[in-house]
């Protein structure tokens, strides 16, 4: 703390943070929802981002966003319920939340994103999904991921409004997973569900029940290993909030280093601070790399025969569709695997690239996809695309 090797703003922030810890130590437990000063800074961040009020008592910090998602789902799902409680989830969707829903005894009600429209969410499809649940389960919540994972689709304000109107009309609890909000590489801006809800005014802003999730795992921080995330709850019944507290308190608290990372994320060095320059250089580099990789990956995958990638505005992945030759599909069937798993296995064995097959995320029957992460150094991205091109050409030739 007394060394000149660390910039003064770093030392001041550390002092302030340590002063906020019990016994001045990051080894102490904290309040269940997180260190109050840090929770306040998260609330401040949300207020600045959205231009709408945010109250600290509605915010809970947890070990990663999935932990909060699980706790909120737990409030609604009960394995003994008959009929089972349903949660509408997008197809495609990353598997972790689905696993939580199933684990808690909930029913999955899939709604298909429109691939040909850049993976847009269509409200008509939400209606269809809800209809399909009649007699099967009792839908209670709608889970959206914005920006999308694996799709990279960024919702427009209009789209978000339509979803909010839908949940208000159909009486659904809205779960907005916004962990990729800092990965935006298109021209459009991220706008939060909370902000749109506030802008829509009453009755929506006073009645729609919303849980928004964010995390230090993504964005320019990328501190997945620290396990830090939070949920902000809006319009939740105060009697239920007491139980939210109990649920989080039995997990004791989120790791303190993660809480600190969260504070730095929501309140980074500002212009004029000694660390601002280095911070800007580092974060600009990350953003430029991501933008470059997104463009290159989109270009190259779309140039490959039988591969079609939708434009991505955000997120950390590309999710191209593969038109696999019938012979390859046949070969996969003989091997007893899904065609896209077959493709991905060969991609790993022959080209040394590890990816995730589309079937892991859900996709329309008869379609195949593969998910690649684009959060790599530029040189690695080029190498990946080079190997992919070479592999794909050979694969298509082999099975033509």
């Amino acid at each position: 703390m007394n060394s000149n090797k660390l910039p003064v703003d770093v030392r001041q922030r550390a002092q302030w943070l340590l002063g906020s810890c019990a016994g001045g130590s990051v080894g102490s437990y904290t309040a269940a929802a997180g260190i109050p000063n840090i929770v306040n800074s998260v609330s401040e961040f949300i207020r600045r981002r959205d231009g709408a009020p945010s109250y600290p008592e509605n915010i809970y910090i947890s070990p990663g966003s999935q932990w909060s998602i699980t706790n909120i789902l737990k409030l609604m799902l009960n394995s003994k319920a008959s009929p089972r409680t349903g949660v509408l989830i997008p197809v495609p969707c990353h598997s972790t939340t689905i696993l939580s829903i199933v684990d808690l005894g909930g029913a999955i009600v899939p709604y298909y994103l429109s691939e040909n429209l850049g993976w847009e969410l269509q409200v008509a499809e939400l209606h269809r999904a809800l209809e399909s649940a009649k007699g099967v389960c009792k839908p209670t919540a709608l889970y959206v991921i914005n920006p999308g994972n694996p799709t990279g689709h960024l919702q427009t304000r209009k789209s978000i409004q339509a979803v909010i109107q839908f949940v208000a009309e159909k009486k659904l609890f809205l779960l907005a997973d916004e962990v990729y909000q800092d990965y935006v590489h298109g021209e459009n801006e991220f706008v939060s569900y909370k902000r749109v809800l506030a802008e829509m005014g009453p009755p929506f802003s006073e009645t729609v029940e919303l849980a928004s999730f964010h995390s230090v795992s993504k964005g320019v921080m990328g501190e997945c290993g620290l396990r830090g995330g939070y949920v902000e709850l809006v319009n939740v019944d105060p009697a239920v909030m007491k139980h939210v507290y109990t649920l989080f308190s039995k997990d004791t608290c989120a790791p303190v280093l993660a809480q600190i990372a969260l504070n730095v994320m929501v309140n980074p060095p500002r212009r004029g601070d000694p660390s601002h320059r280095l911070y800007t250089v580092e974060t600009e580099h990350i953003k430029t790399t991501l933008l470059h990789n997104a463009r290159r990956a989109y270009e190259v995958t779309n140039s490959l025969p039988g591969v079609c990638c939708q434009p991505m505005d955000g997120g950390a992945f590309i999710f191209p569709r593969l038109a696999l030759p019938p012979k390859a599909i046949q070969k996969a069937k003989e091997a007893g695997t899904e065609p896209d798993i077959f493709y991905c296995n060969r991609l790993l064995e022959d080209a040394g690239i590890l990816t995730a097959p589309g079937c892991q995320f859900g996709q329309r029957e008869g379609t195949y996809h593969v998910r690649f992460c684009i959060l790599v150094p530029v040189a690695t991205m080029e190498e990946l695309l080079r190997r992919l091109t070479s592999f794909h050409t050979q694969f298509m030739a082999e099975f033509s």
């Binding site: 016994g23 080894g27 009960n78 684990d103 006073e206 501190e223 396990r227 989120a254």
Partner: protein, 491 residues
């Protein structure tokens, strides 16, 4: 959005209400952070605002948080963690070589050489290997397989994960989980949350809170009438009771578990916190294997440890692990799937655990200061355990069993009939009423015994022995004075 709106308005029209929500969650209670603690936080705010009270600070003796009470972190651990968090410091010659060596090794095992990368869901492999070696050293050479070790977000996370796997069935076939009374309320909270059947077995207060197999048998047979008991949870050293089980007792429990076909869960997070003469920590794993293959190849067991207690006290890092013995391989595949939903345990906690199981050795530069710090912490705790026992037992109306281990005292308090009646009027259990008065009058926050479970008609409180010795003496004094006043008021 108005604040009341943001805070939600009760009543019709909401999707999520007390009626529509998961009924299991409504049954979850966690006394360690219950209403008393919430009131304590409120009082702290009032003090900050300048409200006059009979005390100037709230002493939070409710939670086993050593650093919050002034215990210092172990220097070596923090040095390595600093190096791991900010590797530029590896160039700084203020850090000893043995710290740098460990930091480099840990960073080498992390994706992209960063503790900010996800790790494997089961935990970083070389750390699991180190944990296995630690267990082997601790248990006199009995083998430990790194594949059976799962790192976790504190021991609590691993305990809940195991319970999730174990709880199933419906009606009479619903899983029953045997837990000690008194118990650490994570267990009752988790069981309520999972909708499992809580099966209580009583520790014997008259015999220093010892565990009697006869009582296990009684409890089990009674439970079989209405559920399917499958799990037996042991906390050793005990929380809140502090009793350290002797070897014979552990053998008897293992024998009982085998006879009755129960999965054993051994919560051993306080294994370094043993103070009383004649008491020694024996791990369930060690005893199991020393009982020979008839037991060691059949009894299914999970043992839990953590970085939150012992001499480290690093609660905020959320580090822990479990070692799982004799698990069905097909179930193991399910366990791996289950832990993947959490993605991975916090990497700083994993790094810290690695240091705990792999501390400085006699030939290393940091050894002497490390041992000095470790010894000092444990010696201070032992002294405070002794002091607490002594002072409480001298108070008429308070009886305190010897604090053999862990970090708490759980004395029995005799409450006057009038006080019990007054509490009832206010809709409270007598010991909660007592503790609330103690908080308001003296600014000392404890946890009422009812939060842990106790025999009908008895009352207790749990206090930590963590405050620095001088402050502890004052706290004990104030409780003494309060108790006498309280007894007088309601006589």
């Amino acid at each position: 959005m108005s604040q009341p709106a943001l805070n939600g308005v009760s009543g019709p029209g909401k999707v999520l209400t007390l009626d529509s929500m998961n009924p299991n969650v409504k049954r979850v209670d966690y006394a360690v952070r219950g209403p008393l603690v919430q009131r304590a936080v409120q009082i702290e705010k009032e003090l900050e605002q300048g409200v006059k009270k009979p005390f100037t600070e709230v002493i939070k003796a409710n939670i086993g948080d050593a650093h919050a009470m002034g215990q210092k972190p172990i220097t070596f651990f923090r040095q390595v963690l600093a190096l791991c968090s900010y590797p530029d410091l590896l160039e700084d010659d203020k850090f000893p070589e043995d710290a740098k060596k460990r930091a480099r090794r840990i960073l080498g095992a992390c994706g992209g050489q960063s503790i900010g990368a996800y790790s494997a869901s089961q935990g970083i492999e070389c750390i699991r290997q180190d944990v296995a070696r630690y267990i082997e050293r601790r248990d006199g050479g009995i083998a430990s397989n790194p594949d059976t070790i799962y790192l976790s977000t504190g021991a609590s996370d691993a305990i809940v994960t195991m319970l999730k796997l174990l709880v199933s069935g419906a009606g009479r076939d619903r899983t029953g989980v045997m837990i000690p009374i008194p118990q650490y309320p994570l267990y009752s909270a988790a069981l309520a949350d999972l909708g499992a059947v809580q099966v209580n077995y009583y520790l014997d207060e008259d015999r220093c809170w010892s565990l009697d197999v006869k009582e296990l048998r009684r409890s089990l047979h009674a439970a079989r009438e209405h559920c399917s008991p499958r799990v037996l949870c042991i906390i050793n050293p005990g929380n809140p009771t502090g009793q350290v089980q002797n070897r014979q007792c552990i053998e008897d429990v293992i024998r009982f578990a085998k006879e009755e076909h129960l999965f054993l869960m051994a919560d051993e997070v306080y294994q370094d916190n043993v103070y009383a003469e004649g008491c020694e920590f024996h791990s369930f794993k060690k005893v199991l294997f020393e009982m020979g293959p008839e037991y060691s190849s059949t009894v299914e067991m999970a043992s839990f440890h953590s970085t939150s207690k012992c001499y480290m006290g690093e609660c905020g890092f959320r580090g822990g692990y479990m070692e799982v013995i004799n698990m069905d391989p097909e179930v193991k595949a399910q366990l791996i799937k289950l832990v993947s939903v959490r993605l991975c345990p916090p990497v700083p906690g994993q790094a810290l655990l690695d240091l705990v199981v792999n501390p400085p050795q006699p030939d290393e530069p940091s050894y002497t200061s490390f041992m000095k710090e470790r010894t000092a912490v444990l010696a201070a705790l032992a002294e405070k355990a002794r002091l607490t026992q002594e002072i409480f037992n001298a108070v008429p109306g308070i009886t305190c069993n010897p604090v053999q281990g862990a970090m708490y005292t759980f004395p029995c308090i005799t409450l006057p009939q009038k006080a019990i009646a007054k509490a009832k009027e206010e809709g409270q259990i007598a010991d909660a009423f007592y503790c609330m008065r103690l908080l308001e009058e003296e600014g000392i926050c404890l946890v009422p015994g009812s939060g842990f479970g106790q025999r009908e008609g008895t009352f207790h409180f749990r206090m930590t022995i963590l405050p620095p010795t001088e402050k502890l003496k004052i706290v004990l004094q104030k409780i003494r004075e309060f108790h006498l006043r309280f007894t007088q008021e309601f006589s």
